[in-house]
Symmetry: C2
Subunit: 446 residues, 2 copies
């Protein structure tokens, strides 16, 4: 039972750790240090503010610091950073950014929930006006202000990952011409083949220009961005969004000798403890166990951050909880398309030494005769030697994201592909064909 | 490898057995005997024709007999019934109903896919015009004709099960006043409490009158139905739909000494063999293994019939397949509501001797801030001693049917309730809140 719990980072993982620790323990002092002025908001919701589906960035904020103090007696220090940690003497040096003042905060337990930061390419022009990364609320506020003030007509998005594609949709909704520049030949990290083709088709339909396998040389302009120089030529633009990926924010952990894993993120146990028993890490700065690969992995996601924050908070407060790991589930809406994936991609599975076999099918979301039935493409991977399911990908116009959860649940249970066919999945004409797309796919097994 | 396969019943199970046997074996003679003029149609789609969402009953028919002959070399004898079976000498006496002629058909293998028939109450007036059961295409055609010719303004539906509620929606779409009379206090067989309250609320909103715990005394009228007499009074009506349940059609099996199970349906092995090794049964006339109860059960559903037909067809043709069983998954649309259930209800679980505990929650279908997010109520049952999940029920306005599949997959894998919280379910604001309703519910576990 700690006297004082200090949490570094006031978003998904940190705030969840704080509130769950409080639920378990009403007396401990809980202090959250957050470097920005914003806590407790949904990063994942940001693109939908730019698209106009959500009316303001403030809608994404769940709690203000004052509410957390009143409701949970959690003290939140916004615009404060932890400058250094002394883990043997159990204190942090905390800098108040507004007052430029450093003070010492002692703790019994510590949660590192420092999150992740946007990667940037090693090119010139990053400091020009109109060039943004997108990760946290301050960056979102800056983009929002720029959009309103400058009303850009063209945008270049660097990176065709989840945020890149969501931002493409958002900017098209503002009638901005969008060009996506992606350095690899794939989309969304590992989408290839049929799925890639369908996404490209959707981007074409939505008049998004996509340049794959393209090198970016620099961002140019005087003061404000004017154009982007890339391998296939020069693109005029009023706005650049950099969305080439994120990396864990671990500088404080590293300088404090908290162990990092091979992925570069903080190594944690199932309890979310680091190599220091009273120091926990959770969220986008921490590794997770990949259940299919059976090894630590970096897979930062909002839902994982919430689960990990809960586990850390419960354990610190004297309860018992564990975070078993992830299977690699992701879902994204790209304009009218729903795309979802879980487990390993073909390349990942091959690299891990599995004997990969693929089953795939074109099916439908509802009974074929029922109005609104939409096509769904399903790809399912399994290991030829063991029969175990390795992963699945689905794409379509409805009914995709929650269907992938069946494969995610199968992966968690290490199911064999042939046993998927036994699953008693729901059927009624408005919701599924009599052979649900997953069953229909497994039926192709010889 | 059979020389001749005879299949009794030309719908989901029978037709699927025929086509899968053909895929495995190109030379065997395959004969299907069907008593009605209709084969290979979706019974589950019938209500959506009456509602006008599907333009005609013929849309539900997948194959005509001639197509099956041409595409699969499957010979279909429509309007023929099997009068008797001689299993030791391996022949059937088949009556051509149109010509009133009996002939003998020898077989090496036999599939009994005789389906189910509508139960009827023991009351007067069943033969009046305007009184219908609804199960097969001929009954659907008769109702369709009656609706078009008589344009009824009032209807009474006996039974608040799946078909009763689907028909209530269909008839309301035709602007017919609908009264549902249900003899029990529950809806949809086992829905009680919060779920029942939500369905009743929806029926009220849709101006459907619901009488629960109501006894029906008789159906009255001269020639045509005029009113229904029930415990709370007399109801004027132009139409009565009887939907109080179905029972397996096993008269032929019984008279041939094919073993029936305790449920009254035909007992089968995982291979779908009956007690006669060359006689198989599949679909609504056969029992299934209930995986949660670990015993045979009667649970007739279209998706099960298709799976069983496939297994029977493959095994007869020399392949190897099995049907492991069901966990009790069902989904239904009732006006704007989506309702889904899997596993055991509280009463079933208690009756089976489990120490039943319930977790429940009110959650949402998408991120709370994302447009179109709708409430979902989830109830989850588990056994206090073993921690094993026993069942789940969900109700809401979107995202329900395919979410129940996660619980169905968990039941198949005999998961513990605490492990559900580890599931890596898909998350993106347009598809789910950061804690998916199932995770949100399990979080309530103490």
């Amino acid at each position: 039972m700690p006297d004082r719990l200090l949490i570094i980072g006031g978003n998904a993982a940190g705030m969840t750790a704080a509130t769950w620790a409080r639920r378990q323990n009403s007396s401990a002092e809980i202090i959250v240090v957050e470097k920005t002025p914003f806590i407790s908001y949904s990063e994942c919701g940001i693109p939908y503010v730019f698209s106009g589906q959500i009316n303001s960035l403030d809608t994404l904020i769940r709690y203000q610091p004052q509410e957390l103090l009143e409701k949970y007696q959690i003290k939140v220090l916004i615009q404060n950073t932890v400058e250094s940690l002394n883990l043997s003497s159990q204190f942090a040096e905390v800098k108040n950014l507004a007052e430029n003042k450093i003070s010492k905060i002692n703790f019994d337990y510590l949660v590192i929930a420092t999150g992740a930061k946007a990667k940037v390419p090693n090119i010139e022009g990053l400091n020009l006006a109109g060039v943004f990364t997108l990760r946290h609320m301050p960056e979102a506020k800056a983009i929002d202000e720029y959009l309103k003030k400058n009303k850009p007509r063209n945008a270049v998005i660097l990176g065709a990952g989840y945020i890149g594609l969501e931002m493409a949709e958002a900017l098209r909704a503002c009638s901005i011409d969008v060009t996506i520049i992606e350095s690899s030949k794939k989309l969304l990290g590992n989408f290839d083949g049929q799925l890639k083709a369908q996404i490209i088709n959707e981007l074409n339909k939505q008049k998004v220009k996509l340049l794959l396998d393209e090198t970016i040389h620099g961002i140019l302009g005087s003061q404000k961005v004017e154009y982007v120089s890339a391998s296939s030529g020069v693109i005029n633009t009023d706005l650049v969004i950099i969305a080439i990926g994120i990396s864990p924010e671990v500088s404080l952990a590293r300088s404090s000798n908290i162990r990092l894993g091979a992925s570069g993120a903080i190594a944690v146990k199932e309890t979310l403890q680091t190599n220091f028993p009273n120091v926990y890490a959770a969220g986008d700065c921490a590794e997770v166990n990949h259940i299919v690969l059976d090894k630590p992995y970096y897979f930062p996601l909002g839902t994982t951050a919430n689960k990990q924050g809960r586990v850390a908070g419960i354990n610190i407060a004297g309860g018992r909880a564990k975070f078993t790991g992830i299977v690699g589930t992701q879902a994204v809406k790209v304009f009218d398309l729903e795309i979802a994936t879980t487990g390993l991609s073909i390349d990942e599975a091959k690299a891990a030494g599995f004997w990969v076999k693929e089953l795939s099918s074109h099916s439908v979301s509802r009974a074929g005769y029922y109005p609104g039935s939409e096509p769904i493409f399903t790809s399912l991977l399994y290991d030829e030697r063991t029969g175990k399911v390795l992963g699945g990908q689905m794409i379509g116009y409805e009914g995709v994201a929650k269907r992938i959860d069946v494969i995610a649940t199968a992966l968690f249970n290490k199911m064999k592909v042939e046993d998927l066919l036994q699953l008693d999945l729901s059927y009624a004409p408005p919701f599924a064909p009599v052979w649900d797309p997953i069953l229909y796919t497994v039926r192709k097994l010889k």
